[in-house]
């Protein structure tokens, strides 16, 4: 009796509390406008250039001047790619029309298109394909269909000290020889790159693997061509480079910025890094380095040609956009308008995708080198499961090159991850 009475009191109290809560949570008014009516566009893109002073904002302003009927605003996403993806995914998964244009990393194309989040751009393919770089264009395709318009691209450079090295090496073995010899003479490190356990390490590893003649998939990504023997040799090369001092101290804990810090303070003979570092080293490096460095294509194992991993961002149209036509127009314009693409290079040192810009800016050393290495740059497969494969590669290959695991076993693990990606 007493118990049920108490229970009753609790029920009343909770019910009353609910009312209070409900009142507190009810939206006070119509504060969210739908945004679908006026033809406005929202461009969800992240990174430094999406910030108010960045070049993306300038590009949006230019569009708004020319297209007052369909003005675009930037929804600034976080700096790190993984977090940008997470934010976009949250919106797309709920089927919301909040974002019209999505700034997507080249490796997300497959995942997004497979989930049905992207509007196909097949009908504007002809406007884009002849104008832009092939590698960037391929990164926007999955399953033979075009899902995004390329926006900017990226490729690796070999930075080297001209006061210590006469000629940039053409093979990795030659590079290691110089790195060990000169490094010992000068008491500094050899090659610094991106060896920390993250996506950047996968990029570096792939550049060694590709430059030894390795492949990941066939042309249409339907068949795995991963070569475990070559992969083992690649990992062993890195393992030896760690042990012999070809890699600079701290290689296995360096991302882009730690690498740049080492090189520009004179602690390394060579550096593998993206083009963004070129201007920064001149501005921030110690004088001895700032005046005495140059850039060259990355070496290969065979000494023939050059290989680089391709980076960059594409612009895709959300399948849930309520203004798809205008969004499509925007992404095509951003990919092919000479003024926009030139701004990327001149305002932000971001490599553009429009071929004609490279002809125009061929007197800039970094742009000239880019146009030399980009035709041979290889995209990481934009497979739907690329993130899973990448994490498996990091888990298996990082311990192997640090001498904590067997390189051959690591290759088998990675091969399994690739094979699974095709079976699914």
């Amino acid at each position: 009796m007493r118990r049920s009475k108490q229970l009753g009191k609790w029920v009343i109290a909770v019910a009353a509390g609910t009312l209070v809560l409900a009142a507190a949570c009810t939206p006070s008014g119509d504060d969210d406008d739908e945004g679908s009516g006026g033809g406005e566009l929202v461009w969800a893109i992240g990174g430094a250039e999406a910030q108010p002073a960045g070049v993306d904002q300038k590009i949006a302003d230019l569009w708004n001047e020319q297209n007052p009927d369909n003005p675009i605003t930037i929804e600034v996403l976080p700096d790190e790619a993984d977090q940008q993806r997470e934010q976009q995914v949250n919106v797309l998964q709920s089927g919301s029309d909040e974002f019209d244009v999505l700034g997507t990393d080249v490796i997300w194309t497959g995942e997004y298109s497979q989930n049905g989040w992207l509007e196909s751009l097949e009908d504007v393919r002809d406007q884009i394909e002849p104008e832009v770089l092939e590698g960037a264009f391929n990164s926007a395709q999955w399953d033979g269909e075009l899902w995004a318009a390329p926006f900017n691209t990226n490729a690796g450079f070999l930075y080297y000290r001209t006061d210590l090295v006469d000629q940039p090496p053409e093979t990795w073995d030659e590079l290691c020889q110089i790195a060990e010899q000169v490094g010992q003479q000068e008491d500094i490190g050899g090659l610094i790159g991106q060896g920390f356990k993250y996506e950047g390490f996968v990029v570096n590893w792939l550049e060694y693997y590709w430059s030894a003649g390795g492949e990941l998939y066939n042309e249409d990504n339907s068949e795995v061509l991963f070569d475990t023997d070559l992969a083992t040799q690649t990992t062993e090369f890195m393992q030896n480079a760690m042990d012999d001092g070809c890699f600079a101290p701290g290689f296995n804990t360096a991302t882009e910025e730690e690498g740049r810090a080492a090189f520009q303070s004179g602690k390394a003979v060579f550096m593998r890094n993206w083009p963004y570092a070129y201007q920064l080293i001149q501005d921030e490096g110690v004088p001895q380095v700032a005046k005495n460095f140059d850039i060259a294509p990355l070496p290969t194992f065979t000494g023939e040609g050059t290989i680089s991993a391709l980076g960059g961002f594409n612009n895709a149209v959300s399948a849930y956009s309520s203004n798809k036509d205008a969004a499509k127009e925007f992404v095509v314009w951003a990919a092919t308008d000479p003024e926009v693409q030139k701004m990327l290079a001149t305002v932000a040192s971001v490599p553009p995708v429009l071929t004609s810009v490279y002809d125009e800016l061929q007197n800039e050393p970094d742009m000239a080198l880019l146009s030399e290495v980009l035709p041979d740059a290889k995209p990481r497969p934009p497979a739907p499961t690329w993130n899973t494969i990448s994490v498996e590669m990091q888990d298996a290959l990082f311990p192997a090159y640090n001498g904590d695991a067997d390189p051959a076993e690591a290759s088998d693990t990675v091969a399994d991850a690739f094979n699974e990606s095709v079976e699914e």
């Binding site: 609790w10 009343i12 909770v14 809560l21 356990k197 303070s265 739907p384 994490v391 640090n402 699914e424």
Partner: protein, 311 residues
């Protein structure tokens, strides 16, 4: 505790207690419940609901993020046969035991020091608490930067050249534990200091009169009377250390077997999405932490009950 006791005292002057005469409107107790109800509902909404929801998701099968149907306990089978789970559990336990032990010893030392009356005590207290104020992610980024070979602040300070703290198998864990101890020993010190200040000084005085030396006073008076505070500090720290995410995520990204349970959960929920497996892992993690928490709370509960019957 004492306050609640006073409120339920039958013969309060207002006479509105449960034993008192019935007056119109709600009783004081009922009114109290009414005021507490929104908070309890909110707690259920933000604390209990996600746990239950995660459990529900853990019974589902997904491909990527696409729901495929009911999976039963398949996700748990997969989680428990995954080497990654066991490796991360091992690291998490090693990390928890060593870092909490070190934090306890150092924190107790700090607390005893801060409990002494000496010139500059205020400044010492403030200085010791500074690391605790810094957000963990920022502390982690800072130590990553300082221990890294480039630019190499720690090496420059110790004259170690290019010692690779974060890139040598044996040292990585030690650096992580060091960073955690640096960050949270002050927290333990703070809790223990609060406990120390509740111990009446006259007990020490009479012990001294009876001829007890410093060590005996510490061992037979300070430690037993500090027991509740110690248990609370260890409970908080253990539970937090078991959930560790930011330190290894920023400083090592899980390299050299330093992947914590929370990092594996994050990987499956966010990075390489498999919400079913991710939720199964997070439910397992929750179970482990809850189990250890319950052991502490039951120890603590007994402690508090004993304390109450005395009073």
């Amino acid at each position: 505790m004492a306050g609640a006791k006073v409120a339920t005292e039958p013969r309060t002057p207002s006479g509105t207690g449960p034993g008192g005469p019935r007056t119109k409107g709600m009783s004081e107790k009922g009114l109290g419940r009414l005021f507490v109800a929104p908070a309890i509902l909110l707690m259920i909404g933000v604390a209990l609901f996600p746990v239950i929801y995660a459990f529900v998701i853990s019974l589902r099968a997904y491909t990527g993020r696409l729901y495929e149907g009911y999976a039963g306990l398949e996700n748990y089978r997969e989680a428990l046969t995954d080497d990654k789970f066991w490796a991360s559990l091992e690291f998490t336990l090693v990390f928890t035991v060593t870092s909490v032990a070190a934090e306890f010893v150092i924190g107790l030392g700090f607390a005893l020091l801060m409990n002494q009356a000496f010139r500059g005590r205020g400044i010492t207290r403030a200085a010791i608490l500074v690391p605790w104020v810094i957000p963990t992610v920022i502390a982690a980024q800072m130590w990553y930067f300082m221990f890294n070979v480039n630019p190499g602040s720690v090496n420059a300070l110790l004259g170690l050249g290019d010692f690779n703290w974060l890139g040598e198998a044996g040292w990585v864990k030690a650096v992580l534990i060091f960073a955690d101890v640096w960050k949270t020993a002050p927290f333990v010190a703070l809790l223990l200091l609060a406990g120390l200040q509740t111990i009446p000084t006259d007990i020490y005085e009479s012990a001294r009169v009876d001829g007890a030396n410093t060590w005996q006073r510490f061992w037979h008076i300070t430690l037993p009377l500090l027991r509740p505070a110690i248990l609370v500090a260890l409970l908080f720290r253990t539970v937090e250390a078991l959930r560790v995410y930011d330190l290894p995520q920023v400083m090592t990204r899980g390299s050299f077997d330093t992947e914590s349970l929370s990092m594996v959960v994050q990987q499956y929920v966010v990075q390489t999405p498999d919400p079913g497996l991710g939720s199964a892992l997070s439910t397992l993690t929750f179970g482990i932490i809850l189990g250890i928490g319950v052991i502490f709370v039951s120890l603590l509960g007994r402690e508090l009950t004993i304390g109450r019957t005395d009073g």
